[in-house]
């Protein structure tokens, strides 16, 4: 579903990602872990076209993303990808309903009734059916993130990118959001690419975990293997540091 082929990313003179190649199969749940600054979030942002690609190619579902022939083709492939952000990024000038129907109405061309029905279903799924007319500022961080997840799902994406989605939440709200994501992961065939510092979640949720350091993948294994018997010294010390507090 997702193919990175010799992808390169620089910020100024700093090489953030170097000669990065990997594939994610359709429906696979892949988690990227590693120290901050290792380029994990940059990978998600390049997939969402929020960052340019300096070298190599990215393909999604067989369609070129980093080298789309035109704006139309780029939009077509990008439409298959959704993203949930660390800071939720709900539109504060719209209600919860407005946030959920914006994309389906304006991009997918759904009628208002269809979009509203979809919004209601999704709010049910994320447990916020009664907040459909609330404004984002009236919701807790955990609730806002649930709405953001519903907003991304409303676009029926093939690929969903989760960028540290619980990092900005109060500790007591983290578990609820993560268990929601696990439920969604189990009940859909969406391909997930996820950056997180929640190692327990990474272990339960992922089919595969990729350990990044210095812009390279240094270990790529199923979670049981990677967390129980990491091969690389750097993985060991990283896991030791994050699991030890």
């Amino acid at each position: 579903m997702i193919v990175f082929d010799r992808v390169e990313k620089r910020f100024g003179d700093t090489v953030v990602l170097h000669d990065l190649s990997f594939t994610v199969a359709a429906g696979e749940h892949v988690t990227l872990i590693g120290p901050s600054g290792s380029g994990k979030t940059t990978i998600l942002r390049m997939l969402m076209t929020l960052e340019t690609v300096d070298g190599g190619t990215i393909t999604v579902g067989g369609q070129p993303l980093s080298h789309a022939p035109n704006e139309r083709a780029l939009r077509a492939v990008r439409r298959r990808i959704g993203m949930v952000f660390q800071q939720f990024n709900l539109f504060p000038n719209m209600t919860v309903r407005g946030n959920l129907i914006e994309g389906p109405c304006r991009v997918l061309g759904l009628s208002k009734d269809e979009a509203n029905a979809r919004a209601a279903d999704l709010l049910d799924l994320v447990g916020l059916a009664d907040r459909i007319d609330a404004h984002p500022t009236q919701l807790s961080g955990g609730q806002q993130q649930r709405v953001a997840i519903a907003r991304a799902l409303a676009m029926r994406p093939d690929v969903l990118l989760l960028d540290e989605v619980t990092s900005a939440l109060d500790p007591e709200l983290v578990a609820g959001v993560l268990s929601l994501l696990k439920d969604i992961g189990e009940s859909t065939d969406i391909t997930f690419l996820c950056v997180t510092h929640e190692m327990g979640f990474a272990r339960d949720f992922s089919d595969r975990v990729m350990m990044f350091d210095g812009g390279r993948v240094i270990e790529d294994a199923p979670p049981d293997q990677l967390f129980s018997s990491p091969e690389h010294e750097r993985t060991k010390s990283f896991l030791h540091a994050v699991l030890d507090h």
């Binding site: 929020l50 990008r78 539109f91 304006r106 676009m155």
Partner: protein
């Protein structure tokens, strides 16, 4: 002769009020031009279209760095004759004021647009929203409300600068006052009344803007 003659003051008031209507018309139409054109400038500049961006930048800097009166004369006696156009003094004045203030409101809009968090643009991209929808549905509804007080202040200063247009013969309040005075050689009443009329409108308007500021 008394310093202040009430009978005389009452006799010229109707003319001044009529001229005040013109001043208000100038302010309203000029504001519409300034508010719309300024927004167009701000959005276009954000798009960074090569060449157009440099032209816009130069235009905005030139207008902001030269006196309004020079621009009014330039439009009336250089630009329009060169284009073979004949506009009334009123239209020339309104266009000059509107364009002049558009260069200021564009900066206000720009500040408001830049204050919208980058995450909002990114969320819009993640939903693949078309760019017109990003502007109309997401960015401007967040950017414009926070700059309304600043825009309001420019509308008030435009109202107070409208008398400048007497230089090309627009009969607004101050011109009407001068006219009245020159017929009787009494200037205290006309100019005092003109000042009071401006005060009666500007001051409540500025209170309204302050309330807007507080309610943000």
């Amino acid at each position: 002769m008394p310093l202040w003659d009430w009978n005389y003051a009452w006799s010229i008031l109707p003319d001044l009020l009529l001229a005040l209507v013109t001043t208000i018309e100038i302010t309203i139409i000029g504001s519409v031009i300034a508010l719309v054109l300024g927004l167009v400038f701000a959005v276009l500049r954000r798009a960074r279209i090569p060449v157009l961006d440099q032209i816009l930048w130069a235009f905005i800097e030139v207008v902001r760095s030269t006196p309004l009166l020079v621009q009014v004369f330039f439009l009336a006696f250089a630009v329009l004759p060169a284009l073979g156009l004949q506009w009334s003094a009123f239209v020339i004045g309104v266009v000059a004021l509107g364009v002049h203030y558009a260069t200021y409101t564009s900066e206000v809009y720009r500040a408001g647009i830049e204050a919208v968090p980058v995450g909002q643009w990114e969320a819009a991209t993640a939903l693949s929203l078309p760019s017109t929808r990003v502007w109309i549905g997401v960015v401007l509804p967040q950017a414009v409300p926070r700059v309304l007080p600043a825009l309001g202040n420019y509308v008030i200063s435009m109202f107070k600068e409208a008398p400048l247009l007497l230089a090309i013969g627009v009969v607004e309040v101050v011109n009407a006052a001068r006219e009245a005075g020159s017929q009787t050689f009494r200037y205290v009443e006309p100019y005092t009344l003109a000042g009071v009329l401006f005060l009666l409108l500007s001051y409540p308007a500025s209170l309204l803007v302050r309330r807007l500021e507080r309610n943000r």
